[in-house]
C-alpha cells in the first residue's frame, strides 16, 4: 500500500466510494421507509386512541345523570329521564291596604305563600310531589301560624288515559283553583273558589283521551268545607268529586285553539261541626263576610256543581265559572238544605303582545339590566258575586229553640265584587302585581249593608 502514489490512492478511494454508494443509498432508503411506516403506525394509533376516547366519552355522556338549572327549577335525572328529582319554589309577599275602612281591617305586609316543592319520578310508573307551606296557615287566611303540608301525593302512571293520584292534593272541581297560585290573574282568586274544595285527602283517577282534547278526574276524598283545606277525616264520611274538561280544538291552529269548557261536581255527606265541615266565605280582600251560627251542624248531603270555561286567543284571556254548593244543615232540630252560589268572569290582556295562557305568561323580552327587555305587562279585570241562600237567615233567634242559621245583622246575604289590576312579569320567575277590588254587600250590618270593601293589594311573586 505504501508504494501507491497519491493519485492512485485517490483513484482507489473514488472507486471504492463509487462501488459502495448504491448499497449505502439502498440502506438509507430502507431505513427511511421503515421510519415512515413507523411514523404512519404511530399516527394511526393516535388517531384510533382519539376515536376510542370519543366513543367512550359519547357512551358515558349517554349514561351520565343530567343536571339542569332553568327558569323552571333545578333537576337531577338519569340519562333515560325516568328517574328525576326536581326542586322548585313559589314565594309571594303581599302588602294589603284597605281604603275608607276606619281601621276595621289590618293593613300591612303578609307572607302569603312560601312553598318549596320537591317533585319527581321514580321510574316510569311512580311520580311524586311534596310541598310544605312555610308561610303558615295565616297565608290562606285561616288563622294560626303553623306550617302546613300543601301537597303530598304519589302518582301511579299506568297510562296517559288512567293514572292514580294518592295523597293530599287539589280537589278537582274549581277551574281557578286548579290554576297555579303563581299564574292566577288577580292577586286572590274569585268567589267560585270559595265554594269548591281546596286541598283534600284521597285517591283520584285521572287521565286524558282523544289526543289530549278530553281530560277527566274522579276521586274519593275525606271531603272539605267550601273553599278550605283538610288534612284529617273529621267525620268519617266521604266526598266523591269529579270533573270532565274538553278542549276540542287544542291541536288546531285556529281562533278556537284556546277554548276549554267542562263541568265538575261533588257529592257526599258531612256530619258535625267545625271549620272542616261548615262553610265560611271571604271577599277578594280575604275578609270573612259570612259565617253560620256556631251551633249550626252539618247533617247530611253536601253537593256541588261547577260549569266552567276559559278561552285564550293571542293576548286575550277569559276565564269564567259558576259554582253552586248545596249542603244539609241543622240547628235545634230544624234541618234545611242551604244552596249558595257564586260566579266570576275574569278578563286579561297582555299589553306587550305575549300569548295569554291558563298556565301563565312567558315574557318574550325578559327584564335584564343593560338590555331593552322590560318583561311583559298584563291588564286584568274581574266581576263576580257570591249569594247566600235566603233560607239561611230564616227562623227564630232566641232561646233553646233558636233555629236561624245566620244572623243578617252580622252576616252579609250577598257580596258583589269588581276588580282591576296590572301584572308586570319582569321575567318568568319574577312578577309584580297590584290590584284593586271593590266589594259591596247586601245586609251584614245592624242597619243597612255592611260597609263596602276597597282593597288594594300588591304582590311580589318569585317562582322557579
Amino acid at each position: 500500500m505504501s508504494r501507491l502514489t497519491l493519485p492512485s490512492r485517490t483513484l482507489i478511494s473514488l472507486l471504492a466510494a463509487a462501488s459502495f454508494a448504491p448499497l449505502a443509498h439502498a440502506q438509507t432508503a430502507t431505513s427511511d421507509k421503515q421510519r415512515v411506516e413507523e411514523l404512519e403506525q404511530r399516527l394511526l394509533i393516535l388517531e384510533r386512541k382519539l376515536e376510542i376516547q370519543t366513543e367512550e366519552a359519547a357512551t358515558k355522556a349517554k349514561e351520565a345523570p343530567v343536571v339542569t338549572a332553568s327558569d323552571k327549577g333545578f333537576s337531577l335525572k338519569n340519562a333515560k329521564g325516568d328517574y328525576e328529582i326536581k326542586f322548585s319554589a313559589l314565594a309571594q309577599i303581599d302588602h294589603r291596604a284597605f281604603l275608607d275602612d276606619d281601621g276595621a281591617f289590618r293593613d300591612g305586609f303578609v307572607t302569603r305563600r312560601l312553598r318549596p316543592t320537591i317533585q319527581g319520578s321514580a321510574g316510569k310508573l311512580v311520580a311524586f310531589r311534596f310541598t310544605p307551606e312555610f308561610a303558615g296557615a295565616n297565608g290562606v287566611g285561616d288563622g294560626g301560624a303553623t306550617s302546613a303540608i300543601v301537597d303530598a301525593y304519589f302518582d301511579l302512571k299506568f297510562d296517559p288515559r288512567a293514572s292514580l293520584r294518592i295523597g293530599k292534593q287539589k280537589g278537582p272541581i274549581g277551574l281557578e283553583r286548579l290554576q297555579s297560585g303563581g299564574s292566577i290573574e288577580l292577586i286572590e282568586r274569585g268567589f267560585p273558589t270559595e265554594l269548591v274544595p281546596n286541598r283534600d285527602l284521597g285517591v283520584a283517577l285521572f287521565g286524558e283521551f282523544a289526543n289530549s282534547t278530553i281530560n277527566y278526574t274522579i276521586g274519593v276524598f275525606n271531603g272539605t268545607a267550601d273553599g278550605r283545606d283538610v288534612s284529617t277525616a273529621d267525620d268519617g264520611l266521604k266526598e266523591y268529586e269529579g270533573r270532565v274538561f274538553f278542549e276540542p280544538f287544542k291541536n288546531d291552529f285556529g281562533a278556537l285553539k284556546g277554548l276549554g269548557f267542562g263541568i265538575a261536581g261533588s257529592t257526599g255527606a258531612k256530619d258535625g261541626n267545625g271549620n272542616n265541615l261548615i262553610a265560611r266565605y271571604r271577599t277578594p280582600g280575604q275578609n270573612t263576610f259570612f259565617t253560620y251560627d256556631a251551633t249550626v251542624l252539618a247533617s247530611g248531603k253536601h253537593s256541588r256543581y261547577v260549569p266552567q270555561a276559559y278561552y285564550y286567543y293571542n293576548s286575550l284571556g277569559l276565564l269564567a265559572e259558576y259554582a253552586v254548593s248545596e249542603q244539609d244543615l241543622t240547628r235545634a232540630g230544624t234541618e234545611r238544605t242551604i244552596k249558595n252560589d257564586a260566579y266570576s268572569v275574569t278578563a286579561s290582556y297582555v299589553l306587550t303582545g305575549e300569548d295569554a295562557s291558563f298556565k301563565g305568561i312567558k315574557p318574550s323580552a325578559p327584564y335584564a339590566i343593560g338590555t331593552d327587555g322590560w318583561g311583559a305587562v298584563e291588564l286584568v279585570a274581574r266581576i263576580g258575586a257570591l249569594s247566600i241562600d235566603s233560607a239561611a237567615f230564616e227562623g227564630t233567634t232566641a232561646g233553646a229553640t233558636a233555629n236561624r242559621f245566620a244572623n243578617p245583622a252580622t252576616q252579609a246575604k250577598k257580596a258583589e265584587s269588581y276588580g282591576v289590576g296590572v301584572n308586570w312579569l319582569l321575567t318568568q320567575n319574577a312578577k309584580l302585581s297590584t290590584d284593586f277590588n271593590f266589594t259591596q254587600f247586601d245586609g251584614g250590618a245592624a242597619t243597612g249593608d255592611r260597609r263596602d270593601e276597597k282593597a288594594v293589594f300588591t304582590r311580589l311573586t318569585i317562582q322557579y
Binding site: Q41, L44, I45, E47, R48, K49, I52, E56
Partner: protein, 331 residues
C-alpha cells in the same frame, strides 16, 4: 249470544295464529350464526308444532348483555361468550338455577372456538407462536380484558401457553403477559372494536381473535389481505347457552326454548356452527369441508389451568387483580 261466541272464538284463533315472540340474547361475533339458526329452527318448530315463533337475537359485548338481562331484558335464552356472564345472571337476578351449566351436555356449550392470530398477508413480522408476540417492534391488537369477554379468552390463552413452557410458573407467566400487553398500542373495549382497529384502521401486526372472527375477516376483506396463524397451543373457548327459567315460564316459551338449545346440539345446529366457523362438538354431524378448515392445534381447557371462571375472574380481572397490576407495570 251466538254472535258473541263466534267473535270470541275468532279472537282466540287469531291469538293462536299470531307469532310468539322469542328472544335470544347473545354476544357480538354470533350475529351470522344465529341469523341462520333462527331461520332454520323457526321453520323446523313450525313444522313440528304448528306454532309460529318470531325469534329475535340481541347482540353486544357478552358482559354488557348479561347486565341487560339482569336489569330486565326479557331473554328466553342466553348464548354468551363466558360461563361467568351466565353465572352472574343466576347469582344477581336468580333468573335461572346456579347449576345451569349441568343441564345440557358439554358444559352447556354446543360448539367451541379458540383464539388464533390474524396477521397481515405474508406474515411480515414472522409471527408463529405466542413467544413472538413479545418481540420488540411487534404490535399486538387485543381488546381490554376488563371490558371484553373475548379479550379474557386471549389473556388466559397467553397465560396458559406461558405456564406450559419449560420452567413455566405463575411468575414467568405474569412476566410474559406483562411484556405482551406492553406491545399492545390500543386497548379497545370489545372484540369488534379490535377487529376494526386491526382490519380497517391498519394498526398493528397481529390481532388476537376468536377463530370465527378471524375467518370472517378474511372472507369479508379477501384472502389476499390476511393470514391466519395457529399457535402451538391455545385455549378451548366454550361459549355457553342456557334457557332463562323465570322468563320462559312467564312467556310460556319453555318448550320452545328447550328445543332451540337442543337444536344447537343436533345435526342442523352442528352443521350451522361449523359453517360459521365455530367448532362443532360432533364434527361428524357437520359438513366435512367446513370441519377441515379448522387448523389442528392442541387446546387446553380453562378449568385445567385456572380451576374455574370464578377463580380466573377474581385472580386476573377483578379490580386490583393481576391484569390491573401488569397494566400498571407496563405503563
Amino acid at each position: 249470544m251466538k254472535r258473541t261466541l263466534i267473535v270470541l272464538a275468532a279472537a282466540l284463533l287469531s291469538t293462536a295464529a299470531s307469532a310468539k315472540d322469542f328472544l335470544n340474547v347473545s354476544y357480538d361475533p354470533t350475529r351470522e350464526l344465529y341469523k341462520d339458526v333462527n331461520t332454520v329452527f323457526a321453520a323446523d318448530w313450525k313444522a313440528k308444532t304448528g306454532e309460529t315463533l318470531d325469534i329475535k337475537t340481541s347482540h353486544g359485548g357478552s358482559g354488557k348483555q348479561a347486565r341487560a338481562v339482569i336489569d330486565g331484558l326479557s331473554a328466553d335464552v342466553v348464548t354468551l361468550a363466558l360461563a361467568y356472564d351466565i353465572d352472574s345472571i343466576a347469582e344477581k337476578a336468580a333468573l335461572l338455577p346456579k347449576d345451569w351449566q349441568k343441564r345440557l351436555p358439554e358444559n352447556s356449550s354446543p360448539y367451541t372456538s379458540t383464539i388464533v392470530f390474524l396477521v397481515r398477508k405474508g406474515n411480515p413480522k414472522g409471527i408463529k407462536d405466542w413467544g413472538d408476540l413479545i418481540k420488540p417492534g411487534v404490535k399486538v391488537i387485543t381488546p381490554n380484558p376488563k371490558t371484553s369477554g373475548g379479550a379474557r379468552w386471549n389473556y388466559l390463552a397467553a397465560w396458559g401457553w406461558a405456564l406450559k413452557q419449560p420452567g413455566g410458573s405463575e411468575a414467568t407467566a405474569k412476566d410474559y403477559v406483562t411484556k405482551l400487553f406492553a406491545n399492545v398500542p390500543v386497548l379497545d373495549t370489545g372484540a369488534r372494536g379490535s377487529t376494526t382497529t386491526f382490519v380497517q384502521r391498519g394498526i398493528g401486526d397481529v390481532l388476537l381473535a376468536w377463530e370465527n372472527e378471524a375467518f370472517l375477516s378474511i372472507n369479508e376483506l379477501g384472502p389476499d389481505k390476511f393470514d391466519i396463524v395457529a399457535p402451538s397451543v391455545s385455549i378451548l373457548a366454550e361459549p355457553p347457552v342456557a334457557l332463562v327459567d323465570k322468563n320462559v315460564d312467564k312467556h310460556g316459551t319453555r318448550k320452545a326454548a328447550e328445543a332451540y338449545l337442543n337444536f344447537l346440539y343436533g345435526p342442523q345446529g352442528q352443521a350451522l356452527a361449523a359453517k360459521h366457523y365455530y367448532r362443532p362438538r360432533k364434527p361428524e354431524l357437520a359438513a366435512a369441508a367446513d370441519v377441515a378448515r379448522f387448523p389442528k392445534l392442541p387446546l387446553f381447557t380453562l378449568e385445567s389451568v385456572f380451576g374455574s371462571w370464578a377463580k380466573a375472574q377474581s385472580t386476573h380481572f377483578s379490580d386490583g387483580g393481576v391484569f390491573d397490576q401488569i397494566t400498571g407495570a407496563s405503563k
